[in-house]
Symmetry: C2
């Protein structure tokens, strides 16, 4: 549950070369959609769960947040974050999301990018985030889409020539551990159904304000090889909610 | 868009033999979950979009609704409804959902079972349903799940021996017409993404109150052949929402 693959040197090296690591937010295919879902940050206290290289923390500070706490399990990630995205208004803390003390009414906005599919329980996250938010506070996050995580291999089903026939879905209602290969390493993730994401939020006192299944920008679909395949199955689920 | 397959005698004959047609609500695999999502009907005015044999209309009246309007495109379905589920408090009307006049503040509850995937636009439905509901009114419906409708064939991907390997997903973001075989006939349905369902509701002024991906009851999984496969992919999406 607290697997720390990002402190593995080979994995970290590979991750550091990904477009989203080199270019930051604009190198992340879903950013153009996530950005539109973010609230006003002016004067707000923000928590970023799984902050990685700190790109979102920097963005939030640039947009007027008074303070940002960025937590991540990986010391190597945070080392980079402190180099690339430093600010007196950002506090980086090395710890698991599960170990963070979510004190009541300490943040106005909680964000998280592609982190929760590494955690076993989404209900715990919802309860904790709800508690630490102020009344009317906002929770915006992205996760790997249940369609993407269900089967487990996280790869296309191909014919013998390697042509991508379709995306396989199986064991959808069997939530829990999946092992897949990412950047040449075995990575453990936790599949959750859409029901779990939506009802987890509703049951813990959130109102859903928007749901988006990320699609690449048109220009990318037209110019980058294989990008059209991103329209064949949803890979990421983006949700915004407010504390009622 | 207003395809009326249910008035085709062969198709109707096949449909009439389905467990859900013979046994009514208790013969429908998703009923045990949909039932829990329904509001109190005592004293309420109810609209049922795509009422079929009228099983839901009868249920609603039995639970105290003062009036129910059941609309369906198929005259043959409504003939059966009038025979099997008649009540002075139920008014059956033969027309397409798109042609119904959704007058402001005329219903307290709108329900719909497995109808909207036959209609091209979900945004139109949301706007219309929202208009005809009273303040705080409830909208509960089931549709075929986007995972179920995306590929189009609505069938498992099998090996040469016919073993079900997995459920195929493709062309997920390509919303619109799909042709599949149901009860031996070609049926036209309209695939929509989850984003379209959720944001359609939110944009037209609903608050999502619950989302459920239907699963069969445990006893059925243990006793009926192939029922375990229903846990391998989601087939139906159930949503309840209230007018804000």
């Amino acid at each position: 549950m607290k697997e720390n693959k990002y402190d593995n040197p080979d994995f970290f090296d590979q991750y550091s070369r990904m477009t989203r690591s080199v270019e930051g937010l604009k190198g992340a295919g879903e950013w153009h959609m996530l950005q539109k879902m973010l609230p006003e940050f002016e004067g707000k206290r923000v928590l970023d769960l799984g902050c990685g290289f700190g790109w979102h923390c920097a963005y939030v500070v640039e947009h007027g947040a008074v303070s940002v706490t960025g937590i991540d399990l990986s010391e190597k990630m945070l080392e980079e974050a402190r180099k690339r995205n430093n600010s007196p208004r950002i506090a980086y803390k090395c710890m698991a999301v599960e170990d963070f003390e979510f004190l009541p009414d300490t943040f106005d906005i909680v964000i998280s990018s592609l982190t929760f599919h590494y955690l076993a329980s989404f209900d715990d996250i919802c309860r904790n985030v709800n508690r630490c938010l102020s009344q009317g506070g906002t929770f915006v996050f992205s996760v790997e889409h249940p369609v993407f995580t269900a089967y487990g291999s996280q790869d296309w089903y191909c014919d013998q020539e390697g042509n991508r026939l379709h995306w396989p879905v199986d064991n959808y209602f069997g939530e829990g551990l999946r092992r897949s290969t990412f950047l040449g390493e075995e990575v453990v993730k936790y599949h959750k159904t859409l029901t779990t994401y939506i009802n987890g939020l509703l049951k813990s006192g959130f109102e859903i304000t928007e749901l988006v299944e990320a699609q690449p920008q048109k220009e990318l679909v037209e110019t980058i090889l294989d990008m059209k395949d991103e329209l064949r199955r949803p890979m990421m689920l983006l949700i915004s909610a407010t504390k009622k």
